[in-house]
Each structure stands twice: as structure tokens, then as C-alpha cells.
Symmetry: C2
Subunit: 443 residues, 2 copies
């Protein structure tokens, strides 16, 4: 009988362990894809692409059994070579090849030069060829940063005593209501794709006090803008026993501080490639919704058209105002009008036209919506009735209030938007691996 005992040490080696001064003069083996080949006549530079970065390999005629003509861009290879110092090579070392094993060959030549430092093409082309264009080092660096953001979010919340949950995406009824839901037939019953884990994460506060989830959400919004996706990743948390909704903003600020520290420590290479400076999040200003409108109306000489809504241009101006006046890339806008928030939002006890809620704007774009929720059964039932909603439609959610819930609140962060703003991209599709929008369902 054969037994599997776990991971065996590989005889091939990664960049970080392989390309070191200690290995100078030594022979090592590596695997990778051929990113590009520069044939200089007697020698050729074969650039190997690995997950961790690029490796400059030197191919010298007659030194290996494999003819150069067998090497193609996007061939997968296993190479053996001698590590030698070369300050102009990535990581300061190159590999002088002695052996090349071709593991696989492409069937065709690439339709686009992905080995260029920056892909010089339209977003449309980039997305249509996404499976290939993501191989470009700049492109893939963005999604390593995105990975880091999710890790930061999770690790920080774990340290703060949150439990990770997994809630269903096929639901009987969406949490936000409205028309922007995808409907599907579920064994002859009407079902929807979840717009948010809202009801479930609140439910789980009754179980674990503090919970989080990172998962896809679905919005059937018909507008095709630079900041909307029809499927995106929502980073949600919900916490019980809060004294005020400021605690939620404090938790988010703490999370951003932790996450940017993690990026600085573990994703320095990607940040450098993308020329990204991490913004200062030691202090994030918080301003009331009505006050924010006044401030930008005054400073930028603009009329307030609708006192109960923020237009996208106003968000941009609020972002600009706080950058100019306080040097901050982030600003919490608090106390949104009740009529713009869902029924479960808690009203401000001192003025029930407003709620104990907030958005976080990052360089003028809303990346978070959060707030305190109603936790009292009578209060939520009355509010639903006042809004013409039928409590029976969501009785399994209302059950949590019926049988007791602590005061609580939370937020949802749009991962792709946060990444977009951090990396200073103009379109949220740039920071989505395989975006879904009104026209795009593939790849």
C-alpha cells in the first residue's frame, strides 16, 4: 500500500531562497514561464516569470542541450543554472543556464505583449484577454495587493475577537430590497441572489457577539459606471454590545491601520511596482452629512439641490475638501438621512430625520456603508409598518429581535473599490479579476 505523508521538499527553488549571495556560484533549479526572450546573438536573456517575480536567465550558445529556438514566450520550463551576481538583473542576481527542460509549449503566439512593463492597451482589450493579460507583472501585482487587503481585514478582526462566518447567497429575499436584485428559479420557488449578508450577519451577532464575512454580493444595477460592478466582494463585519456607532468607525480605522501596515511589510514589492503610497490613516476626520454638504457648498460655491442626498460630485468635493483642509484621503460622513437608509438603520434619538450611520469616503468615493442597527423588536416592526413593509415577509430575520438582540452595528466594504482607490485606478474593473457588468459575463 502506498501512503501519502504530506508535502515533500521540492528540488526546485523559489526566487527568495534561490537568488541570494549565499548561493552565488552554486547551481540551482527553478521552474517558471518564459516571460520574454531577448536574443543578443551569442547570448540571449531568457526572462523567467514566477509568482514571486522575474528571473533573468542567461542562455549561452552551446552551454545547454536545448536549442534557443525551442524556447517560446509562455513555454513552461524547468531550468538549471549557476547563480551569479548582476546588479542590473531583478533581485540583483541572474542564472547562467546549464540545462533547460521544456515542460509545456504554447500553441500560438501571444496576441498582446504582456511582457511590457505596463500594458499599453484599452481596458476593453485588457478585459477581453483577461486570462492572458493578468500574466503581466503590473496587472497581477494589483491582485496581490487585493489579497493583502483581505488578509489584513481578516487577521485584524480575528485578533479583535470576531468569528468568521459563511452565509447563503441564494436567498428568499434580499436585505436591501428594491429592484436591483438578480432573480432565479429555485426548484419552482422564487429566489434572489443576496445583495448583502446583512440579515445573516446580524443574526450571527446573537451567536458570536462579533462576526465577519468576506464573500460575493450581487446587484442587478443597470448603470454602467466606472465604480459599479454587478458582482463584487463585500467585506462585512458586525459587532454587538456597542455604546455608539463611533465604535464601528473606530474598528474600521483600526482595521485600515493594521492592513496598511501589513501591506507595507509583506507587499512592499508590489507597492513599489505600482508606485503606491499608502495613505495616512492614523486620524480619519468624521463630519455630519448635513455639515459636509454645507462645507463644500460654501467652499466650492455650489448650491445644495437636495438636502437628503449626496450626489457623486458632492462626494468628490467632500473628499477634496478634507484633503485640502485636513490632509486626509479618508473622511467619515455620518448621520445620513433616514429616508436614504434601509429600514434596519437606527434613527438618531435626538433627531429621527437622521440615522446613526456613516459612509467612509476614500478620495471622494464611497467605499463603506455602516451604522448602528435597530435591535428592539417593537421599534423595527413599527418602522417596517411605517414604510409599508410586511414583517411576515422576513419573519425568520425578525426572529432575532423577537427573542432578544444586543445593541449592535457594522459595515460593509467594497473590496474592489477600496483597491481601486488605493492603487489610483480610474475604473473599478481594473481591480476586479473577472468583472461582471451589464455587458460583460465572460471571461
Amino acid at each position: 500500500m502506498e501512503f501519502i505523508k504530506g508535502v515533500k521538499e521540492k528540488e526546485t527553488i523559489g526566487i527568495l531562497k534561490g537568488l541570494t549571495g549565499e548561493n552565488a556560484g552554486k547551481t540551482i533549479r527553478m521552474e517558471g514561464s518564459i516571460h520574454t526572450i531577448r536574443d543578443m546573438g551569442d547570448v540571449a536573456f531568457v526572462i523567467l516569470r514566477k509568482s514571486e517575480g522575474l528571473v533573468q536567465c542567461v542562455y549561452e550558445e552551446g552551454k545547454t542541450a536545448t536549442p534557443l529556438s525551442q524556447l517560446k514566450e509562455e513555454s513552461a520550463v524547468r531550468v538549471t543554472g549557476v547563480v551569479s551576481e548582476e546588479s542590473r538583473a531583478p533581485h540583483g542576481f541572474e542564472l547562467r543556464l546549464t540545462e533547460i527542460e521544456v515542460l509545456s509549449q504554447p500553441a500560438e503566439v501571444l496576441p498582446i505583449a504582456i511582457s511590457k512593463w505596463k500594458l499599453n492597451t484599452s481596458l476593453e482589450t485588457k478585459l477581453s484577454l483577461r486570462p492572458i493579460t493578468l500574466r503581466n507583472p503590473m496587472e497581477r501585482a494589483k491582485f496581490r495587493i487585493q489579497e493583502g487587503i483581505v488578509r489584513g481585514f481578516r487577521d485584524f478582526l480575528h485578533l479583535e475577537g470576531f468569528t468568521e462566518i459563511r452565509t447563503p447567497k441564494i436567498v428568499a429575499r434580499g436585505a436591501e430590497g428594491g429592484s436591483n436584485v438578480f432573480k432565479l428559479d429555485y426548484f419552482n420557488k422564487k429566489a434572489e441572489l443576496g445583495q448583502s449578508p446583512q440579515f445573516y450577519k446580524q443574526t450571527m451577532v446573537g451567536v458570536y457577539d462579533r462576526v465577519f464575512e468576506v464573500a460575493p454580493v450581487f446587484r442587478a444595477e443597470k448603470h454602467n459606471t466606472t465604480r459599479h460592478l454587478n458582482e463584487y466582494t463585500s467585506m462585512d463585519f458586525e459587532m454587538g454590545y456597542i455604546d455608539s456607532f463611533e465604535e464601528i468607525m473606530e474598528m474600521e480605522t483600526g482595521m485600515l491601520q493594521y492592513t496598511f501596515d501589513l501591506l507595507k511589510k509583506e507587499y512592499a514589492q508590489e507597492l513599489k511596482m505600482l508606485k503606491t503610497d499608502l495613505p495616512d490613516v492614523s486620524n480619519i476626520p468624521a463630519v455630519r452629512f448635513d455639515k459636509a454638504k454645507e462645507l463644500v457648498a460654501e467652499k466650492y460655491d455650489r448650491k445644495i439641490k437636495n438636502p437628503y442626498d449626496l450626489e457623486p460630485e458632492e462626494e468628490v468635493l467632500i473628499g477634496r475638501y478634507f484633503k485640502e483642509e485636513y490632509g486626509s484621503d479618508f473622511v467619515f460622513v455620518t448621520h445620513y438621512p433616514s429616508k436614504k437608509r434601509p429600514f434596519y438603520a437606527m434613527e438618531d434619538p435626538t433627531d429621527d430625520r437622521y440615522t446613526l450611520s456613516f459612509d467612509l469616503l476614500f478620495r471622494g468615493l464611497e467605499i463603506t456603508t455602516g451604522g448602528q442597527r435597530i435591535h428592539d423588536y417593537e421599534t423595527i416592526i413599527k418602522k417596517m409598518e411605517a414604510r409599508g413593509m410586511n414583517p411576515e415577509d422576513i419573519s425568520s430575520y425578525l426572529m432575532i429581535f423577537q427573542y432578544g438582540m444586543p445593541p449592535h452595528g457594522g459595515l460593509g466594504i467594497g473590496l474592489e473599490r477600496l483597491t481601486m482607490r488605493l492603487l489610483d485606478e480610474a475604473n473599478v474593473r481594473e481591480t476586479t479579476l473577472f468583472p461582471r457588468d451589464v455587458t460583460r459575463l465572460e471571461p
Copy 2:
């Protein structure tokens, strides 16, 4: 201007920091839900439920301003009390109450006694009242274990150089094909819910060499069994530059070893509550599909009806065989027949009736399907054509082979099934927070 600076220290304290010998005689504050009240006349035991466990609070008449009648099961409270040693209390300490602040009150009395050690009710009732029954300590412990499994999976793969990805769940066409897909209308185009991130994770091997994803998958299977869900969590990984599909099994074995170690270290309390012994995964036997069928046919005196398929009862017997003969709870069954595997599975070069693939059985239940994939463009096109499939239908997936892919393979693990087997539950719904099956769309 107000500024948010991050998380402030709370004046309330958790169980682990609060209930210690160091604090004996000291006054501390805690928050929690009232799990149960035992009124003994002069004193009452008020059991507080917190995320980390239960706290025994002693209520003595006249010692606090709050009358006992105000305290109800599922009231959220903030209490102040003196820590005193009491060996019969959970964690070895109790809190002698001096102050009680009621933060919220339930509207109604619980319909089921969730404070019982083990919920003594049918699965049906348990699931219908899920938002409440999950508050039972045994119930919620299961999902802490599940959290631990996901953490182990992610942390191990991160250490092994895998990158975490997020791929779309609304897709033009499912990876597995067949009839068990949920269909939806996507802006007047036909779309499906992803049955697996298969195509996307393979695509991302071309980008990062090694990738993983933990996300929901959707299967519209009509059978209502104890081991099927219509939405479940798939833990997927995919790795490039493999020499054989054994490397995938080695990676999974390493992951299980790491994860069970993590559970032992960080989830000991939950394992103890659930009386769960972690199985030995230092060696996992691997047996060929055809050989496994022979072994159980022989030992359990059973006819082989269909040499190309494993019936569920055969899986159970294979599990039993390897437990009896080798003491192992796990067994890899390898070399599944080609006709039972999807088109992208790589055939065994020595016998193309079989594939370089495997399932992992855990106590007789399939919890993983994996294997090496075809990486050569011509080969996959030919195989699709032989199966009557049209390559044009999935051209954006095939693009990766056209332009070059390293040899690779991977697997998908059903999180709820793994949890079910680990905790020795009879139904996969027991280890799913809010299960979706043919009849169940709520809560």
C-alpha cells in the same frame, strides 16, 4: 472636527482576561446575553453567554439595584461584579454581581430551551429556528471548528506560496456542465451560477503558479440526501509545475496535518465540548479505484456491478476497509475512470481509460475531488471534440492553453462535508449555518 483614531480599549473585559486568579477579589465589568437563570431563593445564578463561553454570575437579593424580575433569558446586559474562585463554575470563577445594566430585552420567551447542553429536538425544528438555535453552545461550537478549518486551509497554503483569488459566481457556462446548474437571467443574457471555480482557478495558475479560493458554489441537484447541499463552500486550490498528481495529494495531506494541529491548539475548548477526537493524518493510504473495488468486493463478499462507478455504499465499504486494515479514517482513491471525470481531467498516459485523478474519502464519504488537468491545447481540443463538446463555447477558458500553461492540477474540498465527518454528524445540514436544499430557502 472630530477624528477617529482607531480602536479604544473597552472598560468591559472578556472571559479569558477577566476570569483569572489575578483578578480574584477584584471588580470587573462584562457584557453578554443572559443564557439562563436559576433562581434558588436568596441567590440566583445568572449565566451569561459570551462568544468565548459561559460565565456564572451570582445574583444576591439587595446587592444590586436591578430586581431579578427584570432579567430575562436573552436580555443583553452589562454587569459589574467581583471575581471569585468557584471550581464548579465554568472557567473556575464566578462573578458576584454588584451592578446590572439591562441593554436590551427580548419581546417574547424563547420557543425552545437553547440553554440545554444539547438541543433535544429534530433537525427540522433546529433548522427552522436556526437564528435562535445557533445560540446553543454546542451548536455554535461546530461553526467555530468550521472557522478553524478554513483558517488552517488558508494559512497553510499561504505558507506554501499560494495566492488567494476571488472569482465570479455568475458565469456564462458552468465548469462541470450537466443539468445541475441554477440558471438566471443576466440583463437578457443566459447565465448560470458557478458549480465550481474550476476554469478560473486554472486560469490563475498561469498568473500566480499556485492559487486558492474559499467561496460558495451552487449545484441544482434535485436529490435530498444527508450529504448534498444546493449551495456549499468549496475550498479549492490549484498548483502549477507538478511532476505528478501525487503532489496534489501530498499538499492536501500537509494541509490536513496543519489544520488539525491548529484546531488542537486554538479550538481545544470546542473540540472538548463536541467530544471530537482529531484523526491521525500522518499517513493517508492511496489505492487505485479498480483495486479498491476489488478489495471490498473480496472482503465484504460483494459483487462489482459497475466497474466504472463507485456507489455510495462502496465508498462506505472502502472507508471501512481502510479503517479495519490500516487504522486510517482517510483514504485516497486514485485513477478514476475517464468517463466519470470531466473533460479537463488528464488521462493516465499508460492507460487512457483512467485519469490521473483522485477522491479523498473521510470515513467513507467523498470530501475532495482532485487531479491533474490537461495543459496542452491540442489535447484538450481533441478531447472536447471526442465528447461532442464545442470548444467555441468556452473559448475564453481555452485561451490559457492556446497561449501556454504549465502542467498543473488541484482539488476542491467540500467544507461542510469535511466538518460533518470530523464532528461525526449524520447530516451535512448540521454543519451548515443556513443550509439550502430542495425544500429549504429560509432562514
